[in-house]
C-alpha cells in the first residue's frame, strides 16, 4: 500500500506554466514519469497527457536545471551531531539542488567501498537529492597510502570524484600516482590545495588584517604553489584535475595559464569567496573562519571575473556545518567552515547576476552542467528539453529574504550570511520528476524503487 502510494507519488504529472527557461522566453514544461515529457508555449491543457497534471503557475519564475554541488560535507557517518545525510540533503533540496557530492572526511573516512556504499544508501533512503559519494584519495586522509580507488569506482556508489578535502595531498609522488591511477576509470582527483608547512597553525588570510589582529597567516602562496605543481603534474601524466575552493587571484592566473596550455583542469569557487573578505575577521567571530580563508577584495573581484570568463568552471558550496560549540568560542579554537547549501543560489545571484557579470544560462552552466560533467553524473546537468530527466529548479529572482540560520534545514547554524538580505528564492525543486520542494517549502522525498536503494549507480536505474 505504502509502496503503491510512493509509486503514485513519483509518477505524478506537473505542468509548469510560463517559466522563463534559463531566464529566456516563458514556456511550459510538462513533467511526467521522471522526465520532461514536453516543452513548449501554451501546452494544450486537454491534450498531450496534460489533463491530469498538477498545474504550477510559474510566471515570473526562472526554470533551471537542478543544481549539482561538487563539494558538500554531509558529516554522516560519524558526526551526526553536526549534520546527517537526511538534514543535509533537505537543505540541498531547499537550496535548489538535485545532486550533491558528499566529501570523504567522515568518520570513518569514506576510503573503502563499504563506506561509500553506506553513504549512497543513506542518500537514497533520504530521497531528497542524488547523493554522490566522494572517495578519499589516501587511507584515512593520512596522505601516506592510496585508498582502494578502484574498489570505490566499481562499487555501487560508482565513485568518480576522489578527494582528501580538508587536507591537501601534499606528497608530490602520491599526488602523481593518484592522478595517474584514476585514469583507469575516468576519475578525477579533487585537490584541497594547501601547502601544509606554510600553513601550520594558520587562522586567516595572511595580509594587512592578520598583521593587525595577530592571527597566524594563511598565505596565498600556500594555495598557489600546490595548484602550480598539480597542473604541471596533471599535464605530465595526462590526467584530470579538479581544484577545490580556489580563493586567490594568483590561483586564478595559474589556472588560466594551465587551461591555455591544454591542461585538463577544472576549478571551483565557493559562494562565500565570491563575496566576503578577511575584513570580517576583525570581529573575531569564528562564523567567518573557513578554510581556505576569506581573502581580500582584490581576490574576490578576480574570482568573480574568473567564474564569468570560464577560468573557474563551477560553484561548489563547501557546505560545512558545525555544532554551535565549535563556533561559540575563541577564534583559534573554532572549527573552520560555513554552511552554504541554502544560500548558494542567492549569493551567486547577488554577486554574479545582479552585478551583470553573468546571466542565468551561465548560472546553469556553473551550478549544474559543469559540476555534473566533472562528477560524471549522467542524468543531471541536462538541457531542459523533452525527453530529458526532470531535474528542474524554479527560482523567483525578484524575491528578497533575510538569512536566519535558525530557520534552515541544515543542522549547522554557521552561516556567514546571517542577517543579510539576499535576492532570489527557490520556489520548487524537481528531482527525477518529483517535487522535493514546492512553494518554497519541503514537500516529500523522491522514493527510489526499492531495489535501487541498495543497488546500482545513479543514472542507471534498473
Amino acid at each position: 500500500m505504502a509502496e503503491q502510494q510512493q509509486h503514485a507519488d513519483n509518477s505524478a504529472a506537473y505542468l509548469i506554466r510560463g517559466a522563463a527557461i534559463l531566464g529566456g522566453a516563458a514556456e511550459d514544461l510538462l513533467i511526467r514519469d521522471g522526465v520532461i515529457a514536453a516543452r513548449g508555449r501554451q501546452l494544450d491543457a486537454d491534450g498531450a497527457g496534460v489533463r491530469d497534471a498538477t498545474v504550477i503557475d510559474a510566471r515570473g519564475l526562472i526554470a533551471l536545471p537542478g543544481m549539482v554541488d561538487i563539494h558538500t560535507h554531509l558529516r554522516e557517518p560519524g558526526r551526526e551531531d553536526a549534520e546527517t545525510v537526511e538534514t543535509g540533503t533537505r537543505a540541498a533540496a531547499l537550496g535548489g539542488y538535485t545532486a550533491v557530492h558528499a566529501m570523504a572526511n567522515s568518520t570513518p573516512v569514506a576510503d573503502t567501498a563499504g563506506v561509500v556504499e553506506q553513504v549512497l544508501t543513506l542518500g537514497r533512503t533520504a530521497g531528497w537529492v542524488d547523493v554522490r559519494p566522494v572517495g578519499a584519495v589516501t587511507v584515512g586522509l593520512a596522505g601516506e597510502q592510496l585508498a582502494e580507488l578502484g574498489a570505490m569506482a566499481d562499487s555501487r556508489a560508482h565513485v568518480r570524484v576522489f578527494s582528501d578535502d580538508g587536507i591537501c595531498v601534499h606528497d608530490p609522488v602520491l599526488m602523481r600516482r593518484a592522478l595517474e591511477y584514476v585514469k583507469a576509470f575516468d576519475g578525477v582527483v579533487a585537490q584541497h590545495a594547501q601547502e601544509p608547512r606554510l600553513t601550520a597553525g594558520a587562522q586567516m588570510n595572511e595580509g594587512e588584517v592578520s598583521a593587525v589582529l595577530g592571527l597566524a597567516g594563511w598565505p596565498a602562496v600556500a594555495e598557489e604553489s600546490i595548484i602550480a605543481r598539480d597542473v604541471l603534474l596533471a599535464q605530465h601524466v595526462g590526467s584530470r584535475l579538479h581544484v577545490c575552493h580556489v580563493s586567490t587571484a594568483g590561483s586564478v592566473e595559474i589556472i588560466r595559464w594551465a587551461k591555455s596550455r591544454g591542461v585538463n583542469v577544472t576549478a571551483e569557487v565557493t559562494p562565500h569567496h565570491l563575496w566576503l573578505t578577511d575584513e570580517l575577521a576583525r570581529s573575531y567571530d569564528p562564523v567567518y573562519k573557513v578554510n581556505p580563508p576569506l581573502r581580500t577584495d582584490a581576490d574576490v573581484q578576480a574570482l568573480r571575473a574568473a567564474l564569468a570568463d570560464g577560468t573557474i568552471d563551477v560553484v561548489g558550496t563547501d557546505h560545512a556545518p558545525h555544532p554551535s560549540e565549535h563556533k561559540e568560542c575563541e577564534w583559534a579554537q573554532a572549527a573552520m567552515g560555513m554552511t552554504g547549501l541554502e544560500t548558494a543560489l542567492s549569493v551567486v545571484q547577488h554577486t554574479m547576476i545582479e552585478t551583470g557579470l553573468m546571466g542565468w544560462e551561465d548560472f546553469a552552466r556553473v551550478t549544474s552542467t559543469a559540476p555534473a560533467a566533472i562528477g560524471r553524473v549522467q542524468d543531471q546537468g541536462r538541457p531542459l528539453e523533452a525527453g530529458e530527466p526532470a531535474n528542474v529548479t524554479l527560482v523567483d529572482p525578484a524575491a528578497r529574504w533575510t538569512v536566519d540560520p535558525s530557520k534552515m534545514a541544515t543542522m549547522g547554524r554557521n552561516s556567514p550570511f546571517a542577517g543579510r538580505e539576499l535576492p532570489g528564492k527557490v520556489v520548487a525543486t524537481f528531482f527525477k520528476g518529483h517535487p522535493t520542494v514546492l512553494d518554497g517549502k519541503l514537500n516529500t522525498p523522491y522514493r527510489w524503487p526499492v531495489d535501487a536503494v541498495d543497488a546500482g549507480p545513479a543514472g542507471r536505474r534498473p
Partner: protein, 348 residues
Amino acid sequence: MRHLLSTEDLSLHDAIRILDTAEEMAAVGEREVKKLPALRGRTVVNLFFEDSTRTRISFEAAAKRLSADVINFAAKGSSVSKGESLKDTAQTLAAMGADAVVIRHWASGAPHRLAATDWIDAAVINAGDGTHEHPTQALLDAFTMRRHWSKLAGTPSAGADLKGMRVAIAGDVLHSRVARSNVWLLRTLGAEVTLVAPPTLLPIGVDKWPCAVSFDLDETLAQGVDAMMMLRVQAERMNASFFPTTREYSRRWGFDDNRLRALDSLGLKDTIIMHPGPMNRGLEISAAAADSPRSTVLAQVRNGVSIRMAALYLLLSGENREPAAAPVSASASHAANPNLTYSHQESH
C-alpha cells in the same frame, strides 16, 4: 568606555584620560595608606588562561588599592576537550556577579569575544591576548615615556601627548602584542615610531602600519632615538629558523654594551631604555643596559599598577557605567574540573 580591548580603537581623548587618571592614582601609591574606597563592593576577576604572574599581581594590586574584591581564576588547558569552554567560564563568572573581567588569553581576540557576546555583562579588560594586543602595557609604557618627555620639556605630564618623541621598538614584532599596542597608541599620542627587527619577525602587511620599519638597529640609533624599547625573544622562536642563532640575533638586534656606549657617543644623553619584562639578559638586552640609569624597567612595573588602577576606575565607576547587576547565583562549582584552580581573596 565600556571595555578596554585594544589601543587600536582607543581615542586620543580616552588615552589622555587614562594617563591623567593614572597620574592621580600614582599619587595614592606614594601615600602611607595606599588605598582608595572607590570600588568597594565591586568584584574584579583576573581570568588567566596563560601564566603571567607579573601582569596578574599588577592587576591584583591595582584592584585592591581601589578596595575591589579580587578573584583570581587560573584556567589552564588549551582546547575545548581539555577544559571548560570560554563561554561556560564566562557565564560562570557572570553568575557570580563579576563586575569586571581582566582576561589574559593565549588566543588572539578572546577578550573581544567576551565583550561582543552575551555570555557575560561585565567590563572586559584585555590583559594580553595571543599575538594581538596588550593595551595596559602600552598605556604604562606611554605613561613612562610621557613623564620622561614632560620632565625634559619642563612641563606637567597631565593633559600632554607625545608629539615629536622618537621611539624605536626592537625585536620580535611578529609575535608581539606589546609592539602592536604600542604602535597604535604611540601613533594616537603623536610619537614617531620605528620598528627594528629581522625581516622574518615582522608581519606581512607591516608596511601599512603607521610607523617606519628598519632592519638596522645601529642606523636607527644614529638617526636619534628618545626611547629605545626592547622586546623579549621567546624561547620557542629560537629553533624555528626565524634567525640563525641567538648569538647572531644578539649581535644584530640586541641592545648590547656597544650600543649602550653608542648612545653616549651619539650625544643621546636623555634616551631611555625600556623593556616590558621579563628580560633575557644577554640576549635582547645586556645586563649593563638593563641596569643603567637609562633603564626604566622598574618604573614601568611601578607605573603599571597606576595605569591598571586608572583603567579599572574609569570602567567601573565612570559616568558611562551602568550600576552593576545584582549578583544572581554563586552556586556554580569548579571542583569537578581539575584544570581550573580557584581562589577568592578578601581585599583588606
